[in-house]
């Protein structure tokens, strides 16, 4: 059993060092590469947000909007941050991720203290209705060759999408369990990574299995409880290659913790 967060792959691989005011050095790892051999977009986002978080006077990520400019690769990188506004309830900042002096990601993010949120609650959506993780299938256990990120983020699925068996089923929606493979529990910034950590739902439509994120926005709705996370993903509108992907994450207590939407392009 690992006992310090420094031993979890996510913590090690998203860590940064302050090198100047509003400037952080980090080392992007190849352990989060996708099947395309580039850094996962969620991994780039969480790495950038961890640096920005150091300049924000609020403890929790509330909402982040990221525009992806160039593919990310492993190696030394810099994050430059700007504190835009710090109010009583929220703090907003901006961060840019650079690799070889080229900007690959620009993010706007607003932080708050989720523990002090107070106001009315009314929920009409529902948590995914999933069998226990032990009763579900590990869709990548069947001897497939795994991309690095699939060794870091685990899923358990009641129904394995057809495209993972080479037979696209034509349904760009799915529900499943998700967690870090080494048992690290999620936090708000880690959720911003996890909403973009699984294979795109659109692949089951039989498209070319490649999808480039143009923009991703994630809302954090609660601090997540420890344990497996229940997820719901759907793409409803694939138009001329562009498609949205909506992703919800619910924690082990049945609470909605993250809601994201990204706009992506099949090249």
């Amino acid at each position: 059993m690992l006992t310090t967060t420094a031993h979890y792959a996510y913590d090690t691989d998203t860590a940064n060092t302050r090198v100047a005011e509003h400037e952080y050095a980090l080392d992007l790892s190849d352990r989060w590469h996708t099947p395309a051999g580039i850094a996962n977009g969620g991994y780039l986002l969480a790495s950038t947000l961890r640096a920005l978080h150091r300049d924000m006077a609020q403890p929790d990520l509330l909402v982040a909007s990221a525009h992806y400019l160039r593919p990310g690769t492993a190696g030394p990188a810099r994050v430059r941050t700007e504190a835009i506004r710090a109010g009583r309830r929220t703090a907003t900042g901006q961060a840019s991720l650079f690799r070889d002096e080229r900007e690959i990601l620009r993010v706007l993010a607003t932080f708050t203290d989720l523990s002090t949120a107070a106001g009315p609650t009314s929920i009409t959506g529902r948590a995914p209705d999933l069998p226990a993780p032990e009763e579900c299938t590990d869709p990548l256990a069947a001897g497939l060759e795994l991309p690095p990120i699939a060794r870091r983020v685990q899923t358990r699925m009641p129904k394995v999408p057809g495209f993972l068996r080479g037979e696209p089923g034509g349904t760009s929606a799915n529900e499943f369990w998700l967690r870090f493979a080494d048992g690290r529990d999620a936090d708000p910034i880690a959720l911003a990574m996890l909403v973009d950590s699984t294979l795109p739902a659109v692949f089951d439509l039989g498209t070319v299995p490649a999808s480039a994120t143009v923009e991703l926005t994630v809302h954090i709705r609660n601090r997540p409880a420890p344990g497996w996370l229940a997820c719901r993903v759907a793409t409803r509108y694939l138009i001329d290659g562009y498609h949205e992907e909506d992703f919800e994450i619910w924690d082990s207590t049945g609470t909605l913790v993250a809601q994201s939407r990204q706009l992506s392009l099949i090249p």
Copy 2:
């Protein structure tokens, strides 16, 4: 019948003048004020995007992400822009809207040429199934005192939400027609305004009738055809005052043209 765009309220009230490289002057109008007596968030966004658009080498807005920093009021304002990256297919920029030297809105936006988009199409969502606009009700025609924006943006509803009659119905979802009141047709940047131009769906839950946008992201999926726009709005998760609002706009040919989500807070 108005014949030049300069006579439409939207064009006049979102216009800008270049005063320096990457700096534009504009005059925010009180004609788009909300019931709270402040500038509508969609109006601020479209005004900012029109300035940024001048520095972008692509014709169409594709996606904009806006973080709202302070309430906007009528009067002279500035937009400062930055061209972040211009690629073959997309151009990404950033803009800040200032009023009295205070930043009230920061936006990241990516532009493209929607007419050249080419790739697979697969649609599982459907356009709202609405009676013709003439068979619907103008929910604000019943002698209510109208906020300025309701004189600029018209709706036609098959079913008027209860809260507009003072009896919240408890359903935070609705479908209706929308257009500029003076007959101006929409374009991609105008769609970024229209997704935030109607009263929040959450009001029908009987909350305090006030909602402040923290962040809004809009995806433009097609250039809109002229005429009435069919809209679908829904809020599914109101948690401690924070709530998402999802908004779709379909044009008069039944094509999805815009999809937005905002995170807002009931104060």
